[in-house]
Amino acid sequence: MRDMKELMVKYKALTTIYIKQFYKYPIPLFIKLIYVPVEAFIYIFLWNYLGKSSSVDINYMIIYYILIGLIKSAYPFRHISINIQRDVMEGSISNVLVRPYPYILPEIERYTAWIFLYSFIFIPAIIFVIIVRNVSVYYAILFVLSFAIGNMIQFLVWYNVGLIALKIERIRGVLLGVSALMSFTSGSLVPLFLLPQWMEQVTYLFPFRYYMYFPLQTMLGEISMSDYMVSLALSFVWCVILWGLSAVQLRSGMSKLQANCA
């Protein structure tokens, strides 16, 4: 209990430092304000144009892609992997390892700081969608829950991807590979219900649908309570699996690590 308390004090202090550090460089935030609307703008034009030839509800498709864009770029997840890759390639990982807390902790802190700052853009955007789409409070609350667990999965996925650097050093290709797989299986490329049935079944083998498609379905009110509970339970299972995998990766990676910055 005392250890936990001490850890929380360190956690709080480091998170505050990261918030201050990111606050000193607010340009990423402002740039997000430019390119997220630009992406939305392209999708609006695209689906309006395509909608001329079909009776399918284009408003649904527009809101789908805007929401996907928001969820996808809400927080800079890929930076988690890139930071770990940099730690490994520059050898600075050895400095972190001698500190009195686990390696994952600074990553969580950095991530928490990002969430705190990026939420100044993400939360108003989501509230705007809730008002425009007339989403009930009930589904909005369910969305928050599914999105929170989705983010935990997202963090663990990119943390695991980063740890691959312990084995192969540069992970640019791995990042690209995971992004490609994610675009297929998360519903960000095509809504999953439009995929051929066998392909949709395959998406259950990956965790990506639980941090994009699942919160999105919840927000749009397209999920029954029983399906919601099943997806929520599976999200927890994925969290456990990814947590375990990261522990295994870290242990096996450390046995191979060579660094001279200690």
Partner: protein, 265 residues
Amino acid sequence: MCLKRLKKIARLYKISVFSGFQYFKADTIMELISEVIFSIGNILFWYCVTDMGYELSGWSLNQIFVFVAYSELFFSLNSSILGVCSRFWYIIYSGNLEVLLTKPIDCRLRFVVLNMKLSTLINGIIKFVVLLMIANYSIVSIRGFLLSILIVVIAAINLGVIYFIFSYASFWIGKMDPINEVADSLTIFNKYPLVVLSKIAKVIFTYILPFYFFSTFPAEVVLEKISLKNGIYGCSTLCITLGIWMLINNLIWRKGLERYEGING
């Protein structure tokens, strides 16, 4: 003089090509596979859209595949050679610029050459040819083919110049890592045919920011959706835009150098 310079560039290029494979074999192979997966995703998107009954007015599925082929070609040119221009800010920020300024080759050109990825380019060309074959290459006009390739190359150079200008902001602001994100996000202009845009947006993305030339315009030229005369007119417009951007580029570069301070000299 010119031959000597070319020899130096070729030597640098050799180093950059082999170092990727030599030291990061697994990652390079993974990168190539991922790029193929992305292309499959592109095709899948258009299949699903057509399957739902949507139509891109005036474009058949085969013609869309021609667009996707050009999109892939542009993307590979960008990610293998010119995309790296958006990372030049790090050289400025880290204070290494003065060392590079003493080298016999322009430091920007040196930076691009040293970071080239031949494997990505070859992969892109293979994907381009395969996609044209899938699209049934008989719909492609031979006359417009060379012009379209030229347009893609000039558009890629133009984007590289714009990336450099973004990077120069580092002279004034310092750390500019969000530029990488912006550069990545610009690929959306290459993902869908920009015929979907409104008239005003089309004018902006043709004459000011030449994104229309990434893949939409070359696909239109090769599919003879526009006449060869208009194709040449478009190409000239692109060249003028490139000239203007290069001028701005050099102007900001000089202003930036005046401000630059480093400790490595």
